[in-house]
Amino acid sequence: MKRVGLFLLPLGLFLFIVVFLLQGLFSDPREIESSLLEQPVPEFRLPDVMDASIEYGPEVFEGELTLLNVWGTWCVTCAIELPFLTELRQQGVRIVGLYYEQNMDPDFGGKSLPQIRADIDRTLSQLGNPYVFNIFDESRDTSMDFGVTGAPETFLIDRQGKVRLHHVGDLNERVWQAKFLPLYQELSQ
């Protein structure tokens, strides 16, 4: 009978795989847990997108509950979420933008800074400006450190400067109510 055990091995291996496939069916592979959760925001030193003489670091998150929204004028979904974010700002939510330009290929140069600023001004005046200020992630290193996979993405950062929530995709009424609001209310007490 020992031989039968050996020959059952393939069946066992197969059933083992099936269990995971079954679980995998009901979870979204694109949903990625941020490795930054409960961690302090990564170190950075970046200029304001509108004024290169202003510089920001992780201290901008200290003392205030903040939403960090990663966006760009080139990003269509970001344009869709801007009005809702503006609404949030009017309700008193502090939103900081992390702006990055998609085509910053060093080989090609891409958009010039004045042009980027003009584009931002136009977009924000049309769709509403939810941002207290925008951090300009020129080389995209900081987005990388934050684990950003694309735009838009939003982080909820608590008063101690720790990342508490990472949302990939647009922030709308439904996501806000279901995912952000409970934690936001708890943290703002």
């Binding site: 020959f7 393939p10 197969f14 099936v18 995971f20 995998g24 069916l25 592979p29 958009k111």
Partner: protein
Amino acid sequence: MLAELGHFSLVLALLMAILLAIYPMWGAQRGQVLMMQTAKPLTVGLFLFTLFAYLCLTQSFLDNDFSIAYVAHNSNSLLPWYYQITAVWGGHEGSFLLWVLIFAAWAVAVAMFSGGIPQDILARVLAIMGMVGVGFYLYILLASNPFERLLPFYPVDGRDLNPLLQDFGMIIHPPLLYMGYVGFAVVFAFAIAALVAGRLDSTWARWSRPWTLAAWVFLTLGIALGSWWAYKELGWGGWWFWDPVENASFMPWLVGTALLHSLAVTEKRKAFKSWTVLLAIAAFSLSLLGTFLVRSGVLVSVHSFASDPTRGLFILGLLVLVIGASLLLYALRAPQLRSVGRHELLSRETMLIGNNILLCSATLVVLMGTLLPLVHKELGLGSISIGAPFFDEMFVYLIVPFVLLMVMGPLSRWKNQPVAALRNQMLAGLGLSVVAVVLLNMGRDGLSYMAVLGMALSVWIAIATVQEIRQRLSASKQGLAGLTSLTPSHWGMVMGHLGFAAMIMGIAMVTSYSVERDVRMTPGDSIELQGYEFRFLGVEALQGPNYSGHVAKLDVYEDGRKVSHLEAQKRFYTVQRNIMTEAAVDPGFTRDLYVALGEQLNNGDWALRVYVKPYIRWIWGGAALMAIGGLLSMSDKRYRMAKLAKVREHKVSAAGEAA
């Protein structure tokens, strides 16, 4: 109307499959000839009804019948007619219809060309095919019906075929791949039938070997075509991405290759019996797993069809039934199998065991790399991703012992191989290949170890193949005339191994010596790359049937002489609002020149990506050689049992026909 007819025809096909699953098997178990005889007509019926349903769907595409949901989602009235025909398999439902059509075609082929096989075995084989078929026809009818109507509100025009699929490579890539995937169903059916009957002798291996070869040839060509298509269409010069779906097609190929070798041992030496059966089950199981992975949305991939958990659940259920049941049957029956052939440690058998172990390790590596991210996440350990570096590294480790066995195997004798003779041959081969590599690399600066290793391995295989033929010739004592006495299946092995050598050479050269430059150019500019001067002539507007775009024109000069004119396109498909890169490629035996058009920059310059890719054709050429090898093996006379039997019966000189 056509859609309803097609739907009805598919229901009839399901009925055929159900009958096919029951009666012939029953007949075979009871020894009733009449019931066994129903197998053939039922299989033919299965095929014809499926074919009719398929043709109905195709005609609906040609008629631009956008009241059918599937047509509306995957076609457009502006789509050229040939893409309307191929659009049938451009989406989930239709590609599954193609899947079952090919499945039925294989079943009919088995019914037609298996004259020499005893009736009860054939009845069982077809019944097994029927059982597998029932599940998949049910799936189509219940969960993925391609004939669903969008009534009463149907669109005026369709959403167009995914532009990525509007390409010649795409016209034949999926059918070839499916031929390969589904083809393993035949050897699977043979294996299960043999397990059910309890008769697993070497004739079993002889019957299933040509079918395995056929499936393997299709799979080889299908994968190679997919790689070629990605190279041309995705615009960044890669030829293999270790994408989950590529992996899904690669795993059955690896196991199929192991199966081919293992079948040879079972046929000739009556050894490895239970192992061969397991491989036969595994090859088809991995094909099914591939189907599941592509269609369920479990993994992130460029190939994903619509991800719908209910469909995924249905396919998973099928997998559990088909694979689970066959592995259970295997566990119950296989322990009774005894291998009779004995062999010494140093013998061809041992080398082939090694070959099988390495191919299966490679399969496990791919399987783990593909599924580990999923397992990792489901265990709550967070998301990880496993990419090319992991696979590349693992395959470098695997390829060296693999090539070593590939050199030793053909040079060794069955049963027992004297050490000294083999050692001398191998040392001679190794020495020659080192010399060859040194000569090939003279004058090249910036040597890469990987390239040198790959070249040495490749040349070594080629030399060993020649040594093996020489060995055969000297044994036959006929001189060069002995070449004709080698069997086609022997030449098949030679071609297969040479093809593999060519592929390694291509891979080693491309990965190590490709050069690429991203450049901004104004018309009139030129850049120099690897001795080639790319002169940018300018960009013109482009208007196609269902797209518009830009085309960049370049002339390429070598030593002041014009060698090529390239036109790289950037297309904008208006209906799907997709931008597609059509790279311009000047193919060559030792190098490809490759240009992809990027964006227009603010000052009117254009971004271009220029590559010189040495020996990349060798990768696909190698695959083609392997496929030719497979075809040669199939043509071997010893698999023509039906014809041999007939010849004997009629006592007529049908030698010409038999050849």
